[in-house]
């Protein structure tokens, strides 16, 4: 379906599917308003402290990024009124050709381009627009862009994108928009997109701010050009991204691991991308969590076929922006997480092993009852006497059994008797703990009990109880169920204890 010329793609507003209904629409607005209020409220504080405005912007970027990442609210930025619309107008004589060659990197010095993938543009209609908030995009001629489906399109003419609105601030919003392009990139994408920060610097943004932005898009660059830009960049994240990129090309060149397309929500889609809407929708719905994308290798595989068919059969003429920023963020996380899991598992295993060893020792000690052949120390014999003296019977303890048996069999040693007094106190303590250890039934339950993913933070108007029937009258609450947030003004509940 060809894109009509001059078609403007609004930043995701019309395309994003709200999975939440009314509530979902309001919640992002609420969060955004809170963020705005806080930032504005502390602006003076920052000024008084002599801290640069950039730091405040960084804080806002970081905050928004984290919120979006955690909740994956695809409509979060949709309600943002601050994301600028950005129109990319391609020349009319733009021709796209499918090329299977590796991506060529063309990046003008000092200008970096946000990552994006271009959808196939119809030959009949060579102009297409896409909005890309906060970015100035300059795609010089000769750049090969890679579509989500893996097709490469070589841009034969320069593409100039001008920023239509002044506010380049909220870069994450489009980035955060969940959009997973399915399909396997057959070729490494141009590295153009990646270095957003640089471009931002060129325009209005500063490098620090870009850091946060950078974290999200991870474009699959081909090595050298990226590194050059990385060098230009000042943020550390760029370096990390660079490392990421080292891995990327290999993956990409290997064709296809779409699993690396963990995408962050892409920026823009043409409303007319009806053909791809189904994919987008499915992607959006499927990528509710970022991790899904990472593990969505198979998903991508399946979609690739559909999308590919799309591209080849219907030839949608759309530009798709795609941020692969998550890769850089997620991969380290994923790498870290397993290690954490491994560590924890190791710990648990070690603990288990130790416990097993202990019991083994006890069992061995029980078996070795023979007074002459026993390996127990004299100290234990002394303990046996303490047992007798204190008459701490009833404790079914392996240690005590052994002690009793030894006491019955062995002949007392004067040495042990001398030591018994010293051991007595410690032995009493040791013996008394097992005595009381069984009194608390739910000792271990409490810490685990209160550790849950689902939590509600609120205020109570009234808590009522009648026998074991409880009534809760709550207000002004924020609920978090498995990462998803809800809010309420009032909540009324019943429970039975």
């Amino acid at each position: 379906m060809p894109c009509p010329s001059g078609e403007r793609i609004i930043a995701g507003k019309e395309l994003m599917i709200s999975a939440r209904g009314r509530k979902g629409d309001r919640k992002p607005q609420l969060y955004r308003s809170v963020i705005e209020d806080v930032i504005e409220g502390v602006r003076n504080l920052f000024a008084e402290e002599g801290i640069e405005e950039q730091v405040l912007k960084d804080l806002k970027q970081l905050w928004e990024t984290k919120v979006l990442q955690s909740k994956a609210t695809e409509d979060f930025f949709r309600n943002s009124i601050q994301s600028p619309l950005f129109t990319l107008q391609l020349p009319h004589n733009l021709h796209q050709t499918l090329q299977s060659s590796t991506a060529s990197l063309v990046i003008p010095a000092g200008r970096t381009l946000p990552s994006f993938t271009t959808a196939e543009l119809g030959t009949s209609n060579s102009s297409a627009n896409f909005t890309f908030p906060g970015y100035s995009i300059h795609v010089p001629a000769g750049v090969t862009l890679q579509t989500a489906s893996g097709h490469l399109y070589k841009v034969n003419v320069p593409i100039m994108v001008t920023q239509t609105s002044g506010r380049a601030g909220i870069l994450q919003h489009p980035i955060q928009q969940v959009f997973q392009q399915l399909g396997q990139p057959s070729v490494v994408q141009t590295s153009v997109p990646q270095l957003n920060p640089c471009s931002l610097q060129a325009t209005t943004e500063k490098s620090q701010r870009v850091e946060t932005v950078l974290q999200q898009p991870t474009i699959l660059p081909s090595g050298p050009v990226d590194r050059k830009h990385l060098e230009n960049a000042t943020s550390d994240t760029l370096v990390s991204l660079g490392n990421e990129h080292k891995i990327m090309p290999e993956v990409l060149l290997s064709h296809q691991e779409s699993s690396h397309y963990v995408s962050l929500p892409s920026v823009v889609f043409s409303p007319q991308v009806s053909q791809t809407n189904s994919n987008v929708e499915s992607v959006l719905s499927g990528s509710a969590s970022m991790t899904q994308n990472l593990h969505g290798g198979s998903l991508s595989m399946s979609r690739h076929g559909a999308l590919h068919q799309h591209m080849t059969d219907t030839q949608p003429h759309i530009l798709k922006n795609r941020m692969y920023g998550r890769d850089s963020v997620k991969q380290p996380r994923n790498i870290q997480e397993p290690s954490n899991i491994l560590v924890s598992k190791k710990d648990s295993n070690c603990q288990v092993d130790l416990s097993i060893q202990v019991t083994d020792d006890d069992i061995n000690e029980i078996i070795q009852v023979d007074g002459t052949g026993d390996t127990s120390s004299s100290e234990e014999i002394g303990n046996a006497r303490d047992v007798d003296e204190n008459e701490l019977l009833g404790i079914i303890d392996t240690e005590d059994l052994k002690v009793l048996e030894e006491e019955a069999d062995s002949i007392s040693n004067e040495d042990s008797a001398a030591n018994s007094s010293d051991n007595e106190d410690s032995q009493d303590i040791v013996e008394e703990d097992p005595l009381n250890s069984g009194d608390d039934v739910s000792e271990q339950d409490v810490p685990d009990l209160f550790d849950t993913d689902n939590i509600i933070v609120c205020q109570y108007d009234k808590i009522h109880r009648s026998k074991n029937k409880w009534k809760f009258y709550l207000k002004d609450g924020v609920m978090c169920f498995g990462g998803r947030d809800y809010v309420f003004a009032k909540a009324i509940g019943d429970a039975e204890w």
Binding site: R20, R22, K23, R26, L30, S33, V34, I35, V38, G41, V42, L45, F46, E49, I51, V55, D58, L59, L62, W63, K66, V67, S70, V446, L449, F450, T452, N454, I455, I456, V457, C458, Q459, Y460, D461, I463, N468, W470, F472, L474, K475, D476, G477, V478, M479, C480, F481, D485, Y486, V487, F488, A489, K490, A491, I492, G493, D494, A495, E496, W497
Partner: protein, 109 residues
């Protein structure tokens, strides 16, 4: 002073993490971060009081209850939350509730 209760939410935690990052990079002082959090407390309290208007009903089984320092902490099991638009079921949920009658005096977390 508003409740610091809401710092343990997605919004609050993400703000704290962001502030921690800035502190780590020494772009802000911890004192300033604290001021930001206080501002957040005010903003979130005000936002919840004024901008949110929906109601939720829920029903479940009460596992534990605790009332200490005027803060109720409940753990409920097998709870259903009903809103006009949707129904949410969770196996376990913890509710932390501060006194709603007098929101100006407590600063519990």
């Amino acid at each position: 002073m508003a409740y610091q209760l809401y710092r343990n939410t997605t919004l609050g935690n993400s703000l704290q993490e962001s502030l921690d990052e800035l502190i780590q990079s020494q772009q802000i002082t911890p004192q300033l971060a604290l001021q930001v959090l206080l501002q957040f407390d005010k903003a979130i309290n005000a936002a919840l009081a004024q901008r949110v208007r929906n109601r939720v009903n829920f029903r479940g089984a009460l596992n534990t209850y605790r009332f200490c320092d005027n803060v109720w902490t409940f753990v409920l099991n097998d709870v259903e939350f009903r809103e006009v638009t949707e129904l949410i079921k969770v196996e376990k949920v913890k509710i932390v509730a501060c006194d709603g009658k007098n929101t100006g005096s407590n600063t519990t977390e």
